[in-house]
Assembly symmetry: C2
């Protein structure tokens, strides 16, 4: 099972993207962890290290897919 991480901040754009990605993903092959960076602020550094510039974003393997634009990481950090 390959792991992917969906980072978001609870915004409407994030929730819409989350619904669509959850719907699309082949769950027999991928396990998607959902991380709300507004609540789980200890994981902001990890997201930035993975290359996340804005949310919502899906990190899969070494790649970051920024999906639409909800908020920049600067906005997430407040």
């Amino acid at each position: 099972m390959e792991k992917a991480v969906f980072y978001h901040a609870g915004c409407p754009v994030c929730i819409n993207a989350e619904d669509r990605i959850t719907e699309l993903v082949d769950r027999s092959r991928f396990e998607v962890e959902h991380v709300h960076l507004g609540r789980d602020r200890g994981r902001i550094a990890e997201a930035e290290a993975a290359g996340v510039k804005s949310v919502p974003a899906l990190v899969i393997g070494g790649d970051v897919l920024h999906i639409n634009h909800g908020a920049s990481m600067a906005e997430v950090k407040g």
Copy 2:
């Protein structure tokens, strides 16, 4: 089988996103059509009508997921 359309313009950002989306999608439930707007210019209007502002983008149901940023539709149109 639900249909999704992946619009791209052959750029490196597009190809990377295409690979990842192809990998992620549950192909037992979704059929993804790949449209190269640089080659298939007759479909630019359709993409814009669906809400595509930049490529790569995946249109699924009534939603558009803009995935990273390869080129704006103005750039695609030249």
